[in-house]
């Protein structure tokens, strides 16, 4: 029954459209068709109808298939106990927590590696980009070779390279490389001391907050003074001095409120301290290096896009090289750089899903991997995963658009 009804629709669509579109039928209907507004309405309705039909069919099929095969549906599984362990958790987690919790553990791990990657890739990318236009021939050529080699090799391959070639040559835990008996490096990762708050910690934090407030106030004051009198104030160095000074002096005044929990080799593994997983390191390195080649090119073309006249004008005004970059070239280059930078950041976040290839517990590996397999609810889990990435990407785009509007050239 259903089948024949569908067939009728197909029949109508083919012959109906043919009839309407034949220019020989110059009756009222076809004249309507040659009216651009009517035609565009017709097309839109057709597309919309087809699309709706398509989506409904897919949804219907999925529901039928799931029912027929007795596969559980719904999001009830999220409150079931997970029963498996995860090697890196930023929030509290153990086997007794729910599948829903594994979602957040995975998500946070994704965000962590993306955040670290964005910071490092930007830094490295700017260095590479500036090196590419450096007056030094050797530096220029080396950075060119760096870019041309590394961006033409698939990221997955680079992740494998870091993980399976570089990191696997590290020693085993008993022969760890040790730095001052507090930092250890071996094949299981990097082990660093963990700061643990002690008595007087809240007081120390309050001091630091006060220092930050002071720096902000100083910046505002310096700006105002420069606007009024034209005199400049070395804000950057003063701020560094204030922050650093407060951190160090405050530390001793408040009676050393931070204890360090050192990692030590007990039994089979290091205990205590913070463990940085080799999977995280490999993924982070690969993402950073791969993305930095793209950012380097963006920075280079951004700087080169600023007309040479600007540079000459700066020289004529007697600005030094640092000021020329900071006050004239970079603000203008920034406008060109922001849109492509945004898409690089988004790419990096999406690329972090390759974590699953080396077992770093990110969203795809934990949630769309282990959890999917233990519950078998592919539709729900894959949709949730895709939705997360979509949301991140839309949020970042929205933020970057807003930022872009702020720095965009306001033309009269």
């Amino acid at each position: 029954m259903c089948w024949s009804l569908r067939f009728c629709w197909a029949f109508l669509a083919v012959y109906g459209a043919d009839y309407i579109m034949n220019p020989n039928n110059r009756n009222g209907l076809s004249r309507l068709f040659y009216n651009p507004t009517a035609r565009s309405l017709f097309f839109q309705a057709l597309i919309l109808g087809l699309l709706l039909y398509f989506v409904m069919t897919i949804v219907g099929n999925v529901m039928t298939n799931l029912n027929q095969r007795g596969i559980s549906t719904g999001f009830g599984f999220l409150s079931q106990p997970a029963g498996f362990g995860i090697s890196q958790t930023l929030i509290e987690y153990n086997e007794t927590f729910t599948f829903g919790r594994t979602f957040f553990v995975g998500l946070l791990n994704t965000l962590l590696v993306s955040f670290l990657g964005v910071i490092a890739a930007t830094f490295l990318g700017v260095v590479v980009g500036i090196s590419r236009i450096s007056p030094n021939w050797l530096l220029r050529k080396i950075s060119m070779v760096y870019v041309e080699i590394l961006r033409n090799i698939p990221l997955l391959l680079q992740i494998f390279f870091w993980y399976y070639v570089v990191l696997q040559t590290l020693p085993r835990p008993r022969d760890s490389l040790s730095f001052g008996e507090s930092i250890f490096i071996n094949i299981r990762g990097v082990f660093v001391p963990k700061p643990v708050p002690d008595a007087g910690f809240s007081f120390y934090i309050a001091l630091l907050v006060a220092a930050v407030v002071a720096v902000v106030a100083l910046t505002i004051w310096a700006k105002r003074r420069m606007r009024d009198t034209g005199q400049q104030f070395p804000v950057f160095w003063t701020s560094i001095a204030i922050l650093f000074g407060t951190a160090v002096i405050g530390f001793f005044i408040t009676g050393r409120p931070i204890m360090l929990d050192y990692p030590e080799l007990r039994g089979l593994n290091f205990r205590g301290g913070i463990t940085i997983l080799p999977e995280l390191i490999a993924l982070w390195f690969a993402l950073t290096i791969y993305t930095s080649t793209y950012i380097g090119e963006i920075v280079r073309s951004g700087i080169e896009s600023v007309s040479h006249g600007q540079t000459e004008a700066c020289r004529a005004l007697g600005l030094n090289e640092g000021h020329r970059m900071k006050l004239v070239i970079l603000p203008q280059a920034m406008r060109v750089m922001i849109p492509p930078m945004t898409s690089q950041y988004l790419n990096l976040t999406k690329n972090s899903s390759l974590a699953t290839a080396i077992g770093y517990p990110d969203l795809v590996s934990v949630f769309a991997g282990t959890t999917l397999n233990q519950t078998g609810q592919a539709i729900e889990i894959i949709s949730m995963t895709m939705l997360v990435y979509l949301t991140i990407s839309l949020l970042v785009s929205a933020f970057m658009n807003w930022f872009n509007r702020r720095v965009a050239l306001v033309e009269r």
Binding site: V62, N65, P135, N136, L139
Partner: protein, 364 residues
């Protein structure tokens, strides 16, 4: 009266010309510059010398087993022993001539189309887009008297190239249509295109591949028998065509509004306007973007390893797990990296060449 004999110009000081002058200008022009030069040279030296020693000087090139790797450097024997597997996957050995022939034909067409001096470009393009795909399909898959070789036996570099080529040919037109749709005046079409593009651009490729490879049959009643390779390919094409659409849109936006209005004033229809006026001009602006998308498509084909298809990376990884050859990951991965690099790098060089060639007279 003596004739005026001009003294010959004195040569420039030795410090200003030749190698020394060049070095002074480019390497040692100031103190920080000198420091940078020395530092970079040191780093380069300390990285390059051991690497070259390992990869070439101390390397083993010939042999047939692990025992032939004795000199402590790279063991390229690992690659040469399995070279055929890396190139063709599990494609039957007596049929290697088929992919070879398809590849040679492909190179022939590429030369025909990409070198300006060879005539009959249009004919070449038509043949390449109509006859060649059918021919290549028959050669690779079989039929017409040739033994059928199912796609699950395809692998290695051959699979990578098949995926990349089909992806490239299909993603461009879809991308153009999407971009035009996104700039359409019909709100529904615009909406559909925007949602489509943003969706594919917003999710990671591996979730798409996972969906395409194992979840797709759920969407059809009674399942579907579409080939796994085919489905992976659809996933990659959808993903990259969304990126392509954005590149095309950028090119369209960069075009001055006067061109659109001029075409309208001449009474050209929508498709005439697009194909005769807009796209040819936009193409110049779009070429770097298009080639970049193609390069990333090429690189992204390596992700099919994750869904269990054995492209060149997959074959190497499988070889690395062979108990008889444990311990040569560096050689394996460097080999794959080199293969990918050759293709991607030549694509990017060709794009630069094309860009310069098409850059007709607008340079100031």
């Amino acid at each position: 009266m003596s004739e005026f004999v001009p003294k010959p110009a004195r040569p420039a000081p030795i410090t200003e010309i030749g190698a020394i002058g060049w070095a002074r200008k480019n390497l040692f022009s100031s103190i920080p510059n000198t420091v940078i030069t020395l530092l970079t040279a040191y780093v380069l030296w300390s990285v390059l010398v051991p690497f070259l020693g390992w990869a070439f000087v101390n390397a083993d090139w010939v042999g047939s087993s692990r025992a032939d790797c004795t000199s402590g450097g790279a063991c390229w024997v690992f690659i040469s022993v399995r070279f055929n597997l890396f190139m063709y996957g599990f494609y039957p050995e007596d049929s290697y001539w088929r992919p070879n022939l398809a590849f040679i034909l492909l190179i022939g067409f590429l030369i025909w189309l990409s070198i300006p001096r060879i005539p009959f470009k249009k004919l070449g393009a038509i043949l390449a887009l109509t006859v060649y795909p059918v021919l290549a399909y028959v050669l690779l898959y079989g039929g017409f008297g040739l033994e059928v070789i199912p796609t699950h036996r395809w692998g290695g570099l051959m699979l990578t190239l098949v995926l990349a080529l089909i992806g490239i040919v299909v993603a461009i037109p879809i991308g153009v249509v999407l971009a035009l749709g996104r700039r359409s005046e019909m709100p529904v079409i615009r909406m559909v295109c925007v949602i489509f593009i943003e969706f594919w651009r917003g999710v990671p490729l591996i979730t798409i591949l996972f969906m395409a490879s194992v979840m797709l049959p759920l969407f059809f009643v009674g399942g579907t028998d579409a080939d796994k390779l085919m489905r992976a390919l659809i996933g990659i094409v959808m993903f990259q065509s969304a990126y392509m659409a954005e590149v095309v849109r950028g090119g369209l936006q960069a075009l001055s509004k006067g061109q659109f209005e001029g075409a309208d004033a001449l009474g050209l229809s929508y498709w005439q306007k697009m194909f005769l006026v807009v796209l040819p001009q936009a193409m110049k602006i779009m070429i770097p973007g298009i080639v970049n998308t193609l390069i990333s498509l090429f690189k992204d084909t390596s992700l099919i390893v994750i869904i269990g298809l054995l492209d060149i990376l997959g074959m190497v990884r499988q070889a690395l797990a062979d108990p008889a050859w444990l311990g040569y990951p560096a050689e394996g991965y460097l080999f794959v990296a080199f293969m990918f690099w050759i293709f991607c790098f030549s694509m990017s060089r060709y794009s630069i060449y094309l860009e310069n060639k098409l850059n007709t007279g607008h340079k100031r």
